[in-house]
Symmetry: C2
DNA sequence: AGGATATACACAAACGTTTGTGCAGAGACA
DNA sequence: TGTCTCTGCACAAACGTTTGTGTATATCCT
């Protein structure tokens, strides 16, 4: 009366392994392994035979076993704050593309802007024995000790966009200062002179640099920065709107706003339209990120493109370089991408609301 | 004269393994393994000692080894057409959340709407020994043989949103018919009677159902479907605009458009505004997906929310059920989520352009 | 011809887990 | 007292690769 359940209906069929190939061909597993990895000590004829049989039996290498033996997998870990909006999906897109070209798969984790989760994500990735870790920091990450483990395990570590402040790390970033500089200079060229700035969290490198670019551009026109025109926020739509209301309450009116993010400038735009203030005639606007919606608002919003996909690709390239020389002493590397300013209706003086 | 390079400066320190714990405690590795996995045959006292030492030595389990031994990893493979816009990122968000709660990591692959790539992605995931595969089909996938391997390996397979036609599969979908029905009924309730439909690729289940929902709603008002009012497209902004132009050329004018996607309805909106046709007074509009931009166009666009995150979570739950009973005979399961209609300015009769 | 070099392959030990089986002692029951 | 069931643990064989070392022929140089 044996249990009929023993039949295991959906059980996996015995996957063909190197041992099977070896038995079939009457050679050792060594030969199979080396033939498949194109090792020099295997004859061309043997390689052919192995490859042919492998194809015939539909041999699929078990990456897990290889990873275990070699101590690292073909997996690339990515930690980002979130995957909504345009930026991070696009960067991931670039990462995925470059990684798969190099034979790596990508694991994506979200920190949800939380250091705790970021820490756990890093642990998870290390436990999965990833070959490398690509990180864009959570907003409130100020302590970087959870990345020590990555390094000490000899796993290549690359930061992108949001990088640790004052640390020796490998990174790829946008030239945020330059982007902000171009954007602000453009506003100046349109004749604007009292330009406000919606700044982001002060400890994040990207917002520091955007602020600096804004200040530098003002300086080229010999305009002294006015602290009352610089408003910090979390770059959300709501706080952008709030900041705009605050700016409108100033005695000495402004004629332009440069925001370090598109959501904030959108919030500002909505406030202006609600109050019947014309954009760009009364107040010109410029944002940052070239979000999808910048092309469909009315007026369309001027913004700075962050080269998202290039950033992802560059991060992978950097990782590959590091992985290629595992024992090399650490030298800090940084890739800096050049932004591109997209001028749209919200900042072009001498144009009407320009309907389509 | 030994090479000084032998020092391997960045080499990984010997990670602490179960063998180390066993040696330290003077017990066998079996005991360690079972204590850590809370096996019943290990005494409470021993478990405590093991757990304590593990914490002290900062023991990190090697998932790779476990996966190799058990024949499956704690990785969940996901294949989606792309990760731009709102839908897929949000679904992935839901997947990630539910998966990490269950102790799984997620590998995301994009098929870029290409069957070839989709096939390769599936191979890649299987090679990575994923514990399960979650798929939303590429647009041109009509042959489903590349998923046979997944099943035959006993790996749980769940489709979401875009699922194979006429196949016995596990899936989680939105009630697209209901969403389209509600949306169209809403337009009818607003007084619209000649309602056009921008339909998507005919072979995708989602577009079939949205079309059907549209037809069903018309039927409740005893309106005979007019084929000249149904225009197929790829749901892009451009083709949406093109379709709108085509509709405007009709002798018998229409008074509303229900599109199976938000990009298409946005294209339509842009055409209407360019031609000075009032929305919703002259022509009312409704879309599908509840994309971010529906809330910022002017007028704001009525749309159907797809419960993206719920969909991701449901897919993971389904996977977990399947994984829990690996030897159970196949029974088709389908989770159907209820959509939610978001009524906005583009379809509300009796309202002006309603500037926020 | 003698020694070095290159070629072509096999042996077997890892990598770090999990798990079926075996074995001892303890308590329960007849 | 003998049998039975638990409890608590150890042995050792897997899982499918990679790779250092060994060994036999063939080739080359002088």
């Amino acid at each position: 009366m044996g249990s009929p359940k023993k039949q295991t209906p959906g059980a996996a069929p015995p996957a063909v392994s190197m041992a099977d190939l070896a038995r079939e061909l009457g050679v050792s597993m060594t030969t199979i392994s080396r033939a498949l990895s194109d090792h020099h000590s295997i004859g061309a004829a043997t390689k052919q035979r192995v490859l042919k049989l492998a194809k015939k039996l539909n041999y699929q290498p078990n990456h897990l076993a290889a990873a275990l033996r070699k101590g690292q997998s073909r997996l690339l870990g990515v930690v980002v704050p979130y995957i909504e909006g345009k930026f991070f999906p696009s960067v991931i897109q670039g990462i995925e593309q470059a990684a798969s070209k190099a034979g790596f798969s990508v694991i994506v984790c979200q920190s949800h802007e939380d250091v705790q989760l970021e820490r756990r994500n890093v642990e998870t990735l290390l436990n999965a024995q990833v070959a490398g870790v690509l990180v864009s920091l959570a907003r409130n990450t100020q302590d970087y000790h959870h990345f020590d483990k990555v390094r000490s395990r000899g796993v290549p570590l690359v930061f992108f966009d949001r990088i640790p402040a004052g640390e020796q790390v490998n990174s790829v970033v946008l030239n945020d200062r330059e982007g902000a500089f171009q954007s602000t200079r453009h506003l100046l060229e349109q004749g604007c002179r009292r330009i406000a700035h919606l700044a982001g969290p002060a400890h994040l490198n990207i917002y520091q640099h955007r602020r600096q670019g804004y200040l530098d551009a003002l300086a080229t026109y010999s305009i002294a920065p006015d602290e009352s025109l610089i408003i910090r926020s979390d770059m959300s739509l709501e706080e952008g709107a709030q900041a705009m209301r605050q700016l409108l309450a100033l005695a000495n009116p402004i004629d332009a706003v440069f925001a370090a993010g598109d959501s904030a400038i959108l919030g500002a735009l909505q406030v202006l339209k609600a109050q019947g203030i014309r954009v760009p005639q009364d107040i010109a606007l410029a944002g940052f990120s070239n979000e999808f919606f910048t092309a469909i608002t009315e007026p369309q919003l001027t913004s700075v493109d962050q080269r998202c996909e290039e950033m992802g690709q560059a991060a992978v390239r950097l990782f590959l370089e590091l992985a290629a020389t595992p024992d090399a002493p650490f030298v800090q590397r940084q890739v800096v991408l050049q932004p591109e300013l997209f001028v749209r209706e919200s900042s072009r003086q001498g144009e009407g609301v320009g309907l389509g």
